[in-house]
């Protein structure tokens, strides 16, 4: 091994060592996040889009959001939730966020989202390998996506 290739090997190992911790982060569902339609995003995220509307899923959202840049949402369920996802149908990318629950973690997510215009908001809970949802229309006075 000449000097040059030693540098290459050592350098490569260094890059790999630095890059590794970053790899642990890479759990972002790009294809689902980039989907421009709710059903497509659901298929990408869950591998299915068979959703049953359920009273067990509780979505708390304002009826009218004056400021589309900050719309408070709350999803709650007493089911044994593995995953909770929030979709805003009319946003350019409908999938707003998804949360994965560990063992013993409650079926609860609260956050604030942006809405471009008046739209249906859908909360989807994955429990026992099936999807359950609740939805509500939120009227938006001022959009929060563009500038």
């Amino acid at each position: 091994m000449d000097r040059r290739s030693v540098i290459r090997v050592v350098g490569g190992a260094l890059v790999a060592a630095v890059a590794l911790p970053k790899m642990a982060w890479a759990a972002w569902s790009k294809s689902a996040m980039d989907a421009n339609e709710s059903t497509a995003a659901m298929n990408e995220l869950f591998g299915m889009s068979d959703v049953t509307t359920s009273a067990e899923v509780k979505l708390k959202a304002p009826e009218i959001a004056e400021n589309g840049a900050v719309v408070p949402l709350e999803v709650r369920t007493d089911m044994d939730a593995e995953q909770i996802a929030i979709f805003v149908d009319k946003n350019p990318s409908p999938l707003v966020m998804t949360a994965t629950m560990g063992a013993g973690t409650a079926g609860l997510v609260k956050t604030r989202v942006r809405m471009g215009e008046t739209s249906n908001v859908v909360a989807v809970v994955k429990s026992g390998g099936k999807l359950y949802s609740a939805n509500q229309e939120v009227k938006v006075t001022i959009g929060g996506c563009g500038g």
Partner: protein, 103 residues
């Protein structure tokens, strides 16, 4: 990012820990333009991970449509005095982590 970006509270009650988080982040959508009409690049938190006593109890993936300075609340099974660590990572390779005392 040297500044503290994660503010949070964790309160134990009846075997569950209620967590409330605020993360300081611009959450640029990539759809906005600056005053010269040039698009502003998307810059947003993609993942948030909560680890309690060594177990991942909650992970969230955000899209650009989560509001600026994201708020996140959830609840996991735990007790007072436990160790809770919150970490986020964004699409530009920035990240931050903080330990929060469970009260």
């Amino acid at each position: 990012m040297a500044k503290k970006t994660i503010r949070g509270k964790a309160k134990a009650k009846n075997g569950m820990v209620d967590v409330k988080l605020l993360m300081k982040h611009p959450m640029e959508t990539g759809l906005r333009k600056d005053k010269d009409g040039n698009p502003i690049k998307a810059h947003f938190i993609q993942t948030v991970t909560a680890t309690a006593d060594g177990n991942t109890v909650f992970t969230a993936e955000f899209n650009t449509s989560v509001s600026k300075d994201p708020y996140l609340a959830f609840s996991y099974a735990g007790e007072k005095g436990g160790a809770l660590n919150i970490a986020w990572a964004d699409n530009m390779g920035d990240s931050d982590a903080a330990d929060i005392k469970v009260k």
